[in-house]
Amino acid sequence: MNINLKVWRQRNQNSEGRFEEYKVQASPDMSFLEMFDVLNEQLIEDGKDPVAFDHDCREGICGMCSMVINGRPHGPKQGVTTCQLHMRSFSEGDTIVVEPWRANAFPVIKDLSVNRGAFDRIIASGGYVSVNTGNAVDANSILIPKEVADEAFEAATCIGCGACVSACKNASAMLFVGAKVTQLSMLPQGQPERQARVVAMVNQMDAEGFGACTNTGACAAECPKQIPLSVIANLNREYYKAKLNGK
């Protein structure tokens, strides 16, 4: 199939970007990233600079493949990452606009590749459990009800891709932070640091320059792991409780 692409090209963080137009011959069975591989081989053959884009697992679990496709992070399908999106979701002759995640907190490194270090710093501020060294404890010695385990696991499927930030009109990171806080606050291992964690993570989130959530729901609608909005409600509860306790 013949596809027309309008791709965002930007030399580095400080340079001005612009759209470049390309034509690509793709098969309907190719993934969106494979279609970009074809484009890049074409560009290299022509002696031009290939398009920089992030990818790693190509099986929907690493969260690297950040592309905003026709205004929607990870493209038009629900619950899939760009690497799991196939060209059969488009039609012959389509013009597709491809842009990077756009948020002040995610500066462009080059072309479609953005720096998501802000997420790492939020995790480093509290998104972990501290474990004393020594013998590994038998995992089954800590009893966790099935429903709790399931809900914590649902939140834990967040792959840190940043589509939530990219979709939100406020560039808010609350779905991501909500997922991490929910996962850790539900499990026994997360209890000792529970209140300090949520306050530290929210402070870091604000310091990184993400916007404030206004509950539009765009994040959950675009999340490739379909993390529900209820994790943000949970984040709110956890945060207000911690604040009332003077944390």
Binding site: I69, G71, S172, N203, G211, C213, G217, S230, A233, N236
Partner: protein
């Protein structure tokens, strides 16, 4: 104040202020709407005027009114701050436009809808609140009913304001904005409070939708029926 400073410094604190004041304003709307609905009794405004007098004279209501003003100011100030601050968080804008694929237009337009309501509110306060509370010189005077009760005739003030078709149009537009503002705001406040569960979130959404349609509709009907003389 130390413990509460997060209400004005953190993103989650600011959101809590929006939700708490929003719910207070919703409560106010409910009372206001019930009183306005008395106009529809078509008794020459007597019940309505009596209710208005009660609201003007009851000390508890007067104190609540001060709180209400504080609530309005906080909601407006914080809302405007959030709207402009959030806009700055994405300096480079997208070219692709998702339309309404991932969110409702009114959820994304709360600042705009709120601004229309604010403009309406200023006009509305000038029309009625200033007149009824400060007995401004252009108040249309008092009325004495058959039972000997004398009171400010706010009903007549309404009838006079709504003879102007432009005022009617502005009031109806204000109610439209209010309806969409509430359609997002009502359930959004509960989400902010952390009230989200698959068993009762759908109930909150339905009650919110009903409230957002019925209350602005009652508000909007009054200028229209008064303008066309259906209620006099």
């Amino acid at each position: 104040m130390g413990v509460l400073s997060f209400l004005f410094s953190s993103s989650l604190g600011r959101k809590l202020v929006m939700a708490v004041t929003g719910i207070a304003l919703i409560a106010f709307l409910l009372v206001h709407c019930l009183i306005n609905a008395m106009v529809l009794l078509n008794d020459g405004g007597q019940t309505f005027n009596e209710a208005a007098r009660f609201m003007a004279e009851n000390p508890f209501i007067r104190i609540s009114e001060i709180l209400l003003f504080v609530g309005f100011l906080l909601h407006i100030a914080q809302g405007l701050y959030l709207t402009f601050d959030n806009r700055k968080r994405r300096a480079a804008k997208y070219t692709g436009n998702p339309g309404n694929a991932n969110s409702k237009w009114y959820s994304r337009s709360m600042g705009f809808l709120g601004t229309i309501i604010l403009i309406f509110l200023v006009l509305h306060l000038k029309h009625f609140w200033v007149v009824s509370r400060f007995h401004a010189p252009h108040a249309l005077g008092e009325i004495t009913y058959a039972n000997g009760d004398t009171m400010e005739n706010l009903f007549l003030e309404m009838a006079s304001v709504f003879t102007n078709p432009i005022a009617v149009v502005i009031y109806v537009l204000g109610c439209f904005s209010l309806a969409y503002h509430l359609l997002h705001g009502f359930s959004s406040a509960f989400q902010t409070f952390g009230v989200n569960h698959k068993s009762y979130t759908p109930i909150i959404a339905s009650v919110g939708a009903a409230f957002s349609i019925i209350v602005p509709l009652i508000f909007a009907i009054i200028p229209v029926v008064m303008h066309f003389g259906i209620i006099k």
